[in-house]
Symmetry: C2
Subunit: 321 residues, 2 copies
């Protein structure tokens, strides 16, 4: 049994990872500043004596160092996770993704921890020239502040692996779906349809092709990679073997909610500035370690709608943040 | 005639660029904090009424904004430019390269300036899998904090181009040689041979293959690209069509200095942690705009030795910084 740090432990993926690690018998130091994390996501963990919560900000390096003492590896999931609104507050991605990652690496170095898992994103590929996009496709040009900040985090981590003998697993996710999902298109559509089931405003033309992965499949891949990845720097795309159109997803959501809204498209082939209209990652590398997703995109969307229906409180929490 | 900002105006490349822009009849706002820049490099510029010097730190965004007012484009050359010592002070590259570039972009946005030239580096390719390395080769893994911080700067600039309608020329340099050169292997070898001409300690085995470019050729390329580059984000490798071994360079330096030292190799195929033992960039893209370097590597090394011989004061300045 090991002792792990999970940053962003009260977030969507982070809290699911914490529950899994605890269920597997590990100890977890959870770190969150609750800027977007939800205390209720930690209800189970907080009852477990193997879980210790540090309510601190990663930007405070001194405090972070103290929280890391005695851990064996770090799952660094804390981030500003929303790709869409970067131009409204450019400093946010720099601070919460790039500088925060630097702080995590420095705290690790200080504490003698040398193994890190990092939640990067398929957005680092910008508008990928090759689809399905492999990890070593053409050197991309960044199109979003979010993607740029995550790519910067990847670069820092890789340089620490070379310079300080760290080992890293870097995961480039498609969008993740499932329990405790609190932002993204299913969240937005659900909320809009709850307010007015007769109409649904849609960014772009609805034909954007996107890929999604169910959160428990994502966690399976992260844990497998952390156990088996052989190299100093291991980079893995995480996603399913396929994609859907935004229109497909709207259909599944409406079916679940039993509504037939009028679809009002904003038009254009992109949902927002820097939006990549076709996201589909090549996942052969993680599959070569023996991983397969158990759930497809449609099942992920349906599970997400079911979760939101049973937990409408997340909309209120989100509005307050 | 235009009005330009040059950050790092008292540095090696920056001060040469300032002199060129002024000679071409432009106005220049020069920015430097003189942490490594040399006031003497601006002797000529400071006599020119079209030059205005701002002795400020780029990390101070408020002051930076004021200095940018009224300029049409920014040449952002200020940086921590030494690739070798990143692991001794990891925060330096983050602050002086990544965060400083963010500040330059924000000051531009505030001042309505939308065109930027950026001095990146061939080090962003890490240990390139393809040599000669093209701009769109395989997505690299960073091996140095310096390369990581410059790649992060590139990402920020590209995201600002997409998000805020900026246009950028990003230059990935090999090592630059010539007048006002104040760090790197010719500098180090010259100083060591001056202290003791009987022996020369050499990092690695001397067989590292590297490429170099003469500073005036570099400036020709930068100005040509800023005039002719057609895209939103334009990325150019800058270097000569070839490379040399460190041993070749040692031979040229010793010949110029008329010394025959005993060569003492530290051993190994790398000069330092994260050193790329083979740097050779594919420069077809910049050549397609009509640029060719006028000087080869040997001529660049010789010009540098001549400069250092006539300006030994740079060694004393450097020791103090």
């Amino acid at each position: 049994m090991s002792r792990y740090v999970v940053t962003g432990c009260a977030g969507f993926i982070g809290s699911n990872l914490v529950d899994r690690l605890l269920a597997d018998g590990h100890s977890v130091f959870g770190i969150d500043n609750f800027s977007t994390g939800q205390r209720r996501f930690l209800d189970l963990a907080l009852k477990n004596p193997s879980f210790k919560l540090f309510e601190i900000d990663i930007l405070d390096l001194d405090v972070l160092r103290q929280a890391f003492a005695g851990a064996e590896a770090v799952f660094h999931l804390a981030a500003n996770a929303d790709v869409r609104f970067g131009t409204e507050h450019p400093r946010k991605d720099l601070e919460q993704n790039t500088i925060a990652t630097y702080n995590v690496l420095e705290a690790m170095r200080h504490s003698g921890i040398r193994k890190i898992a990092f939640s990067s994103t398929g957005s680092v590929y910008g508008e990928a020239q090759v689809v399905p996009t492999p990890e070593d496709g053409p050197f991309p040009v960044q199109t979003s502040l979010y993607g740029a900040s995550k790519a910067a985090g990847e670069g820092l981590i890789s340089a620490y692996c070379e310079g300080f003998g760290f080992q890293a697993c870097i995961f480039r996710f498609v969008s993740i779906l499932g329990e405790r999902y609190t932002h993204g298109h299913v969240f937005d559509f659900y909320r809009k349809l709850k307010d007015d089931p007769s109409r649904l405003p849609v960014l772009g033309n609805g034909k954007q092709r996107k890929s999604y992965l169910y959160v428990q499949d994502c966690i399976d891949a992260i844990l497998l990679a952390m156990n088996k990845a052989p190299d100093k720097v291991n980079i893995f795309n995480l996603g399913v073997d396929g994609y859907c159109e935004v229109n497909d997803s709207i259909g599944w959501i409406c079916e679940q909610l039993n509504v037939k809204p009028r679809l009002e498209y904003a038009g254009g082939d992109r949902g927002w500035i820097g939006d990549n209209p076709f996201i589909f990652l090549d996942t052969k590398r993680i599959q070569s370690l023996g991983w397969r997703p158990k759930y497809g995109i449609r099942e992920g969307v349906i599970k997400t709608v079911e979760y939101l229906r049973a937990n409408e409180w997340v909309f209120e929490m989100r509005d307050r943040s």
